[in-house]
Assembly symmetry: C2
Homo-oligomer: 366 residues x 2
C-alpha cells in the first residue's frame, strides 16, 4: 500500500498517455479531475492486487463515450457517489475498492478521482494494460467474467444498471444510453471479487504507468544514455520509425475515430515512408510496405525531442515523431485474446505476429 498524491498523479497521467497508444483520450482533463478530488478529499491509497481479500467487491471505474465530449461537457462531481450507492444497493454488499479498467488515456485518472471522493483504496491493476475502443476488450472477458451488472451515471444524476447476456450486448445498450445522456458518462463495470481480479487482471499497471511517466520526464537526465536510448530502455520499447507527419486522413464512423497517418522518414529513416492506421487507438504501422507492428501490441507516437506521447487528436502536419512499439500483456497474445483484440477483429488482413518477431524479421509483407 502506498499513497497517490499530486506528484504521482502527474506521472501516472503522463505514462497513461503513452499506454493509450494514440487513443484513450488525452488524460489532461481526467488529471484535473483527479487533482481536484485529491485536493478536496486527500490522497488515495494504492493497494497491490495481493492485498485484496478474495471475497472483496472491486468496482472498476471508467468513462464511456467520447473523451472529446467529456472535455467539453465535464462532470458533475457527484457521479461516484451515485454509482457507489446504486451498486451497493443492487449487490446488497459494500464495495471494498475501486480500480481502473483501462490504464491508457483518460480512464487512468477517473478511478483516482473516484477513490479520493469515496474514501476507498484503488487497486494497482486494470483489464487492458493499455487502451481499447470497446467495452468487451478486457482480459476479464477471456476469463468469462461478465461486464454486468454494470452501472452507468451521467452528470445530471441519472443512473442505470445493466444485466446483459453477453458483453457485446452491454456495449450495445450502454452505448445507446451514453448517447442519450449526451455522449459521455461514468460507468462501473466488470464489478468482481478479489479472486477474479487476481486471476485475470493486468497487475501493477498503475505503478508501471507512473514509472513510464517519470522516465519520460527524466529522459534528458540519464548519464551515458541519449534521451532516445533512455526512453526506449525505460519503456522496453522498439523504435520502429522516425519521421515527419505528412498527411492525416480522418473519418468518424459511428462512435469511432478512424484514420491513417502518413510519415516521411528522417535521420536513419530518410527516404523511407511509413503509414500508421488507427481506430481510436493505433492499429498497425507499415514501413515501406512491410508491417512492423499490429494491435494488440502498443503502437505509440512520441515527440522526437521530448518523448511525450502524441495522441491521435494532436496529430499535426510537420510534427516529428518516433513510432514506438511496446509489447502487449501476454494474455492478449493467446488465441482467446487475439479473437477479442487481434488484427483481424479490427479489419486488418494479417495474422498477429508478436512485435519482437516482426522487428527481428524486418517486418512482414503487407
Amino acid at each position: 500500500m502506498r499513497r497517490i498524491d499530486l506528484k504521482e498523479v502527474e506521472d501516472i497521467a503522463l505514462g497513461a498517455s503513452l499506454l493509450g497508444a494514440g487513443g484513450g483520450g488525452d488524460p489532461y482533463y481526467g488529471k484535473l479531475m483527479a487533482i481536484g478530488a485529491i485536493k478536496e478529499c486527500g490522497p488515495v491509497e494504492l493497494i497491490g492486487p495481493e492485498e485484496v481479500p478474495d471475497d472483496a467487491v472491486i468496482m472498476p471505474i471508467a468513462m464511456m463515450g467520447a473523451p472529446t465530449v467529456l472535455c467539453e461537457k465535464g462532470t458533475g462531481g457527484n457521479e461516484y457517489r451515485v454509482i457507489y450507492d446504486m451498486v451497493s444497493q443492487y449487490l446488497g454488499k459494500k464495495v471494498y475498492a475501486v480500480m481502473p479498467m483501462e490504464a491508457g488515456g483518460v480512464n487512468s485518472m477517473l478511478p483516482i478521482a473516484a477513490a479520493a471522493r469515496l474514501g476507498l483504496p484503488m487497486v494497482d491493476c486494470d483489464g487492458m494494460g493499455r487502451a481499447f475502443p470497446e467495452l468487451q476488450m478486457v482480459t476479464f472477458t477471456i476469463g468469462g467474467v461478465n461486464a454486468t451488472p454494470m452501472a452507468l451515471t451521467d452528470e445530471k444524476g441519472n443512473s442505470v444498471i445493466f444485466n446483459t447476456i453477453t458483453n457485446k450486448w452491454t456495449e450495445e445498450l450502454a452505448r445507446a444510453v451514453t448517447m442519450s445522456c449526451g455522449g459521455s458518462v461514468t460507468v462501473a463495470l466488470y464489478i468482481m471479487d478479489g479472486r477474479t481480479m487476481k486471476a485475470y487482471g493486468v497487475k501493477n499497471i498503475v505503478s508501471r504507468s507512473e514509472m513510464l511517466g517519470r522516465a519520460i520526464r527524466n529522459v534528458k537526465n540519464q548519464p551515458d544514455l541519449t534521451p532516445q536510448e533512455a526512453f526506449l530502455k525505460a519503456s522496453e520499447g522498439y523504435g520502429l520509425f522516425r519521421g515527419k507527419i505528412v498527411d492525416v486522413l480522418r473519418e468518424t464512423n459511428g462512435a469511432f475515430n478512424l484514420g491513417r497517418i502518413l510519415l516521411e522518414g528522417i535521420g536513419d529513416f530518410r527516404g523511407k515512408k511509413a503509414e500508421v492506421t488507427f481506430q481510436n487507438e493505433n492499429l498497425s504501422v507499415t514501413v515501406d510496405g512491410r508491417i512492423c507492428a499490429t494491435v494488440p501490441d502498443l503502437i505509440c507516437l512520441v515527440d522526437t525531442e521530448t518523448f511525450t506521447p502524441v495522441t491521435t487528436e494532436a496529430l499535426k502536419y510537420g510534427k516529428r515523431v518516433m513510432v514506438t512499439g511496446l509489447k502487449c500483456y501476454d494474455m492478449w497474445r493467446t488465441q482467446a485474446g487475439l479473437e477479442l483484440v487481434g488484427p483481424r477483429y479490427f479489419g486488418l488482413d494479417t495474422d498477429y505476429i508478436p512485435l519482437e518477431e516482426r522487428v527481428k524479421g524486418g517486418g512482414s509483407d503487407v
Copy 2:
C-alpha cells in the same frame, strides 16, 4: 378477489381496445400471451386495491415500444421472471402483486400474462384509465411518484434498471434502450407501495374493461334498446358523429404514429364532415369546424354494426364508424393532469373543455 380465466381475458381485451382510444396497440397479440400463460400456469387472482397492504410492493408491467413490432418480434416467455428477479434483487424485497399501468390496448394483457407466470395476484387498478403514448403520462406522476426504479428486459434476456432524476429522463433513456433491443421490450415501472397505488391509481379499471367488453359483445341482446343505445348506455359514452372514412393521412414521427382521419356523415349526420386527429391515440374530433372532444377525454371509433373498437392501425377507406366520446378519469381534468396530457401538450391550439360541456354547447369553434 376473483379469478381471471380465459373468458374474462376475452372480455377485458375487448374492453381494453375501447379504452385504447384508437391507440395502445390492438390487444389481440397480448391476449394470445395472456391466454397462453393462463393455459400453462392457471388463472390469475384479481384483487381489489383495498385488499393490498399499505407497505406491499406493487410492480406494474407493460410493454414499451411499438405494438406493431411486438406483434412481429414476439416475446420470449421468460421476461417476467427476469424482471421479477432484477426488481427483487434491487429492492431487497419481494414483489406482492403486479398491475397494469395502462388499461387501454395491448398493455392491458401483459400484466395478466405476468401474474399467471409469476404466480402473483394482479391489482384491479392502473395509472391512466385509458392509453397514452408517453411513459410519464400517468396519474402517479401527478402524485409525484417516480417512474424509477424502472426495470426493462428484452426477449433475449438482457435487463436494465433505470434511476432517473425526472420521468421525462426515464422516457428518454428507456426509449433509447428499447430501440437498441429491437423496438419492443417488457418493463416494470412506477414500482410503488400499496399506499401510493391506493392514493393515485385509477381503481377498478380492469373490472370496467371487462364490463365494457361484455357489453360490446351483448349489444344486440338488450331488450328495449337498439344496439347503439345499449353500447352508449353501458359505456356512458357520447355519440359524437357517425360517418364513413373518406381519407386517412399518416405520418411517422420518431416513435409516434401521427395522422388525421376524415369522415363524411351518414344517417343523422348526412351532409356533415368530421376530422379526427391522432398521435398513437385519438387526440381530437372536430365536426364541421367545431371541436366536439379533445384529449384527455377518450375519443373512440367503433364499428356502426358491431360496436367493436377500430384502432388506428385498422382504419380503412369506406369503413363506417361511430365516433364516441368517453369521459376521462377525474384526475386528468385537474390543472396538473392537463399539464401532462391536456390538448396543448399534444400541440392542439385549444383549452381543455370537458366532453360533456362541449356536447351540451354543440362543440366549440376551432
